[in-house]
């Protein structure tokens, strides 16, 4: 590793590490110096203990379940977003027709939807996948559409004289041009995805992080709850980094940072 490379890594790794440490320190200080009871905010140490103690028995299997729901749901959501954006963009009247319906899908609370979903799909992984997909497709769709419509009309016009039919305009111009914005939407989507899976599990489940959380919350086992939140955060951070990396790979022509 060259010194320059080393410095770049340091610039990327140090600030977040420092921030996390600061937060941990603040958290620890609050729990140590204030009379805040442990069922409200346990100390970081207690959470780590809960994490370690329950990892093999409860948390790891739950993480696997919620992780699978998240990934499947995201996959379905992103594919749906892509297809919806394509169709809605291609058929303008359809767009005006469907847009309110898309918005409506976001306004039905999971609690209302959950019974219908479980009736249709049972209490397995399927309704959670649907909940995740339903909550993640929307940011991607909106961003992708906005990106596709923000393309310089002069470029489109020129391309039309260069044998580009509507399909070529879509695939060779609008979609690549929209990639950066679609990735912004995907960042938002992946950030919501694991929590959506947990929501999905609230709506009836027998395993997963959300299931255990819902058990632990009313029981005031806040240490376990926060251990689950820590897992959830790690999962989300991983997905977020993955998307950032994908964006980096997929959009090499873009200006970087400031």
């Amino acid at each position: 590793m060259t010194p320059r490379h080393g410095r770049a890594v340091a610039a990327h790794v140090l600030p977040p590490t420092a921030a996390v440490l600061v937060v941990l320190a603040a958290w620890w200080a609050v729990t140590a110096w204030t009379p805040l009871p442990a069922y409200l905010l346990p100390s970081p140490g207690a959470v780590i203990t809960a994490l370690v103690e329950n990892w093999r028995t409860v948390l790891w299997p739950a993480t696997a379940v919620t992780g699978a729901e998240t990934l499947f749901g995201l996959g379905v959501g992103v594919i749906a977003a892509f297809l919806i954006a394509l169709v809605v963009h291609t058929v303008t009247p359809l767009r005006r027709a469907i847009e309110p319906l898309l918005v409506a899908t976001q306004t039905v609370p999971v609690a209302v939807l959950a019974p219908l979903l479980t009736i249709a799909l049972g209490y397995g992984i399927a309704p959670k996948v649907v909940v995740v997909a339903l909550l993640t497709f929307f940011p991607v769709t909106v961003s992708l559409l906005a990106g596709m419509e923000g393309v310089d009309p002069a470029v489109i016009a020129t391309m039309r004289t260069l044998w580009a039919r509507p399909a070529a305009i879509l695939w060779r111009v609008r979609l690549p041009a929209a990639l950066p914005q679609a990735f912004a939407g995907l960042r938002i989507a992946v950030t919501f995805a694991p929590v959506s899976a947990v929501f999905g599990e609230y709506a009836g489940a027998s395993e997963g992080l959300g299931y255990h959380m819902i058990q632990a919350i009313p029981r005031l086992r806040t240490d376990v709850v926060l251990a689950e939140v820590v897992i959830l955060t790690a999962m989300t951070a991983l997905l977020y980094l993955l998307v950032a990396w994908l964006e980096h790979v997929a959009c090499p022509w873009r200006p970087r940072g400031r």
Binding site: A114, A216, P218
Partner: protein, 312 residues
């Protein structure tokens, strides 16, 4: 029946939707499962946690789940809404829903409710019940403010964000609260509300009539559950051991033991496991109707059946 097990394993499955997350109220169920009584009865039982209290009646009525653990009030509401359900057993054959308060809240009984904040788990029936209790004790219900706390009834009580909660059970939430101080508690029956079965097992009424195999599975399930109940009554430690795994991450061993010890007496049924009293059902249904909790006139007697229970 043994032959049926061998020929068709899957049709012998019994999916049970719980009323809530697994807790010592379910000691009969988990003790039976841990002891292998369901296997012996040839039924393959799965327990699932629902999204909310309304799931039970809906899912059973639609045949999405074979059985569900629900409440007598909710079962009566479901019946009045025309759902296809019937209560086939009482798991907790008495009312245990309680008004809990913290000492120092200024509430030393239902007569002190005026001007206080009461947290509920978000059920209209709970507000109505507290209103009724208040009126019975000479308190103007309009002076009570309600907060919907969903799942977390205890924490706001401990932190004195509410003066009382209504909906928690003394054998569960009461044990948790005890670790945080003194929290006086009054059951609904103590405050004059007619008694009812807190937890019941509901089944799909029409299917019991049409589907003999289903009826048989329900019988087998209930018979095995009765054995679980008996074991728990004989030695609560059996129930503690059975509940340890399903409640991992929720209760400490110490809590679990205390809760089971408090729960067992509440589940004891003098008439025999699961038996429901027709007069009690009718009285409670009338009380609900009088208080606007039932849309239509419901004959409480029709809401339950003891026919599928094992002989005493």
């Amino acid at each position: 029946t043994q032959g049926a097990v061998d020929t068709d394993q899957t049709s012998r499955s019994v999916d049970v939707l719980l009323d809530w997350t697994p807790n010592p109220d379910h000691l009969a169920l988990y003790t039976a499962q841990a002891a292998g009584y369901y296997d012996e009865a040839g039924v393959d039982v799965t327990f699932t946690t629902p999204s909310g209290t309304a799931d039970a009646a809906k899912m059973v009525s639609l045949g999405q789940t074979d059985l569900a653990v629900s409440y007598e009030p909710d079962t009566l509401i479901a019946e009045s809404e025309g759902l296809d359900v019937v209560s086939v057993a009482a798991l907790v054959p008495r009312s245990i829903t309680s008004l809990m308060t913290w000492s120092g809240s200024g509430i030393s009984g239902p007569e002190d409710l005026a001007g206080h904040t009461v947290g509920t788990s978000g059920l209209a029936s709970q507000e109505t019940t507290v209103d009724w209790i208040a009126r019975q004790h000479g308190v103007d219900p309009d002076t009570i403010s309600y907060v919907n706390l969903s799942q977390g009834l205890n924490q706001p009580l401990i932190d004195h964000q509410v003066d009382a909660t209504f909906g928690a059970y003394p054998n569960i939430e009461g044990v948790e609260l005890a670790e945080h101080g003194d929290f006086p508690s009054f059951t609904a029956t103590e405050m004059g509300v007619p008694d009812y079965a807190e937890l019941v097992v509901i089944a799909q009424r029409s299917r019991l009539d049409d589907d003999a195999d289903y009826a048989q599975r329900v019988r087998d399930f209930l018979a095995a559950t009765a054995r679980g109940q008996q074991d728990a009554e004989n030695d609560p430690q059996t129930a503690v051991a059975a509940l340890r795994e399903p409640t991992a991450g929720a209760y400490t061993d110490e809590q679990l033991r205390t809760m089971v010890e408090r729960t067992v007496p509440l589940t004891v049924n003098d008439r025999g496991f699961g038996r429901q009293d027709t007069a009690d059902w009718a009285t409670y249904a009338n009380w609900m109707r009088d208080n606007g909790l039932l849309e239509q006139d419901v004959d409480g007697a029709s809401g339950h059946t003891n026919d599928l229970l094992p002989e005493v």
